[in-house]
Symmetry: C3
Subunit: 385 residues, 3 copies
């Protein structure tokens, strides 16, 4: 979640209106909304005790996480049962996938989850195609788009688009649940959820006391920020941020973690033998140089490459993760290895099931999935991971 | 509907063929088609007494309008009933949405309606992507596209694309119903239908004797032309066209209305106190400057802005409408008001239901909706608007 | 199928990796895969005796062709029966349509087939949109995309993309069936299947002993290559390649056909009276000048135009075919003729049904379609073509 007082609504690309007067008017209304405390905003994301707007990892708590992970497990298993009720669960609901930034993984994963639940799906891949031609302001554009749907999933390069969307919903007469699929450099809460689910499953539901290494771009990797905040909900967590100075974790996030008793370390000289002592996960990331002013791709520092040798020396239960896309930060031969603790691709498919659970949660159908799962003892149900 | 004798088929962008000889051949065939009277063309839009090609507001009559509005009401209400048959009504039908001009509202509205009826939907958002690369002529392109579907919805910048599409259908061996979702500057018949539905509902089905104000761009607003023609079917209608000279209503449309006993007025000096005496609807529009040669957006004349003060002085049953997108022609504070006679957003959602009714009509399933609605006395059915 | 030893993996546009070292590593792995014999690769396209990867017309045999055609016939007929089981057949399967080249016909045809079977469909129309921005290599991109689906349909300008895709599947832990919807200039196996189906139906299942004329661009028309290879499976086939020298059939394909006892002829001086002696089909094609370096469209040689006079002199059972899009190679008046042996548009719709049968085959549901068809004697079932 952004530091609300820092938001410069004039400085960003949002189209506030066709004239300076109109723009200023709406900006002032929005700033009134931002004047609330973060706690108030978190509260605004709940409806009848249920988290319905998925905007930030800071809004999650352990009971929410546990429930979502259980529903994820149940959903993936009952889907194998012929004529299981998954496809009928949300067949009267519709969703708009509003992706103003390129995405393949996240987009396809949401789309697959929506389809598994029988939802009607629509997509807008370019925010500006339709409205800009006629100079419609983005408030009207979003309100229009949301009018035909029951939920909105968005990705946007604007840092505060999540709050903008929440505000538009709250000031419309037909608010619908909204899901942040990546806004700006700050947060990517659903990726964090699927990463957490992957960690929880591979650690046999014992996350307390584990250590983790985040490697690569700790500064701008939005999944790093979101996942670390979730891990901080557990007891006795140790996190190593492994990156050169220029890509090291920011002070705000580090302080957030330390305030919650996470033991943090900054490692700036390379991976070295670190993987051997990690008990949870080594989480690799690519350098997010699409955010750089200077557009030349810099060579990745080889001291931070995860090598085949490191894979061979990983503790038995420690997993190798990467939110993908990857570049050169993992040695290519690892692509052809079949080791069980390489989680890259399984992690990705987990996302589809996690998002299925998330929609079920938002629309209050998660217990239906759990009930069905517990009631059926079908031999066709696949075993746990 | 265009003045057929005015169509210059050479002057427009339609790809008639790869060589001058081929192009000339097809143009001659098309001109043979255009040589028919408007009455003949209207007749060609009917099949077994049913209007199946929705091309122009001039083709509607009061009995069609009344039926469509009733089906719209029935459809929106039975959709709330669990397992209502709406989704199965057209599940064996497919439709192509062929939008060569930018659109978000109309496109999403059609798409939602199609989905509510269980139709298979496909979209082409750029007419030229596929065929142009291989220099296919547009006649073949349209015939190809239509081959896989049971209905065609199109938007196009070409003024006579509606007639072109009708001709292609009639000379193919597999004609399918076609729906004009906005061709050129002339017509937008489905928007006019949803506007009419909104007016009819908010006037408690008493449109005769009402007065209306069209404000903004009366010259090029295709919804203004189409809606005014529909209103002209009623008795004792009064219409004020409120716009500066350069955006005033054209003589052809004004004559059309006067021939049908509509009392028309041109107001060129601003809205002033006019809203206070309007008994039907104040219909605002933006300046359609995307049609201008000169690409600079001109400042909207403030005398034609609908103000909060005007809202407060509107007669009780008079509604404020706008086809959207809007710009500065309505004061921004009105966005945050909740008054019942602000119809902007309800109008938009009405479009989804109106188009649902329209597809049901085209495929002869409208009576099924009415029958189901009348047969069920379920308490879950929502009340009328 | 390509001559494997000729593939220059460095010379093509595939993104092999972010650095020279990574790229070289993966290229070496791929070249190991290519070192297999064509027979081994054909074998790799089968799973439990069933052809599941549809890559090349060279992989088909007569029993496969006969089965597919029968299933096609059955599928198109049972679809007319209300509540026929077609739409439920593959409702638990999903498919990605991965089209990196423009296409309308093939894309829509696949999409319609998938929908008729109730499959979940997703599309990527530009390979580079998502992955390129973050410099993901194409191996990861394809593996990612395929992760969420049960089948992959692709079109690509890269000549060896079919083999690349097969290799990616084989080295992933979740291989899915892949279908070549047109890769490079070499092959278009599903178009060849629908053309074959059209020929088989119009010849009343007697293809042996027939003669065929391929006219236009025999050199680069990928459907010409694929269809001729399929026809070569029959006895006593005669093929005329009718094209100027520069567009004549290549020696590799001609030798392939002659090795299988096809009597081939090259005709370079025009169509003349040839149609009168063709007993199977006159198969017209356009000049594929999108492959030319020189981008100027050349005028089509009028001696190779199919004229109305030729249509009138065609033997009774001989059909006129064209894979479309067409340009000037068929006289325009023929567009307005209704003769039964003009197969252009029926051929196109056949493609939808052929592809329906193909998906049913791949997922082992083809016998379900045949069984249902044979079991029902409903009077509503339409007659054979």
């Amino acid at each position: 979640m952004l530091n609300l007082s820092n938001i410069n609504v004039n400085g960003d690309w949002i189209n506030w209106g066709p004239t300076a007067e109109v723009a200023e008017f709406h900006q002032k209304m929005f700033q009134g909304f931002l004047a609330q405390t973060p706690a108030k905003i978190r509260e605004a994301c709940y409806s009848e005790g249920r988290l319905v707007h998925i905007l930030s990892a800071e809004h999650f708590d352990l009971s929410f996480l546990e429930k979502i992970c259980e529903v994820t497990n149940a959903a993936r298993r009952i889907n194998k049962i012929p004529d299981a009720p998954l496809k009928k669960l949300l067949r009267n609901k519709s969703v708009l996938n509003y992706f103003a930034q390129p995405s393949s993984r996240t987009f396809n994963s949401f789309s697959a989850a929506e389809s598994l639940l029988g939802m009607r799906r629509e997509e807008v891949r370019d925010l500006r195609t339709s409205s800009a031609a006629k100079n419609e302001n983005d408030r009207d554009a979003l309100r229009t788009q949301s009018s035909y749907y029951d939920a909105l999933v968005f990705r946007n390069s604007c840092n505060y688009f999540d709050l903008f969307a929440l505000w538009v919903m709250q000031t419309s007469q037909r608010p619908i649940p909204i899901i942040n699929a990546g806004a700006g450099q700050e947060e990517h809460p659903t990726q964090a959820l699927l990463d957490y689910y992957t960690i929880r499953e591979s650690s046999h539901h014992r996350v307390d006391g584990k250590s983790f290494a985040f490697v690569g771009d700790c500064k701008r990797g939005r999944t790093v920020h979101s996942l670390a905040k979730i891990l901080a909900l557990h007891e006795d967590i140790e996190i190593y941020f492994v990156a050169p100075d220029e890509y090291q974790i920011d002070t705000t996030t580090e302080t957030y973690l330390q305030d919650r008793q996470v033991r943090t370390h900054k490692i700036t000289d390379g991976l070295n033998n670190l993987p051997e002592i990690i008990t949870g996960a080594v989480y690799m990331t690519r350098i997010q140089d699409e955010h750089d002013q200077d557009k030349r791709t810099k060579r990745y520092d080889p001291r931070f490459i995860f090598t085949e040798k490191m894979l061979d020396s990983l503790p038995k239960d420690t997993v190798l993760m990467h939110p993908l896309p990857k570049r050169e930060e993992i040695e290519p031969y690892i692509d052809y290895r079949q080791d069980k603790n390489i989680m890259l691709w399984r992690q990705m498919r987990n996302g589809m099931w996690l998002r299925t659970a998330l929609f079920a949660h938002i629309f209050g159908k998660d217990d239906k999935i759990l009930d069905y799962y517990h009631s059926c003892k079908q031999s066709t149900a696949p075993k746990p991971l």
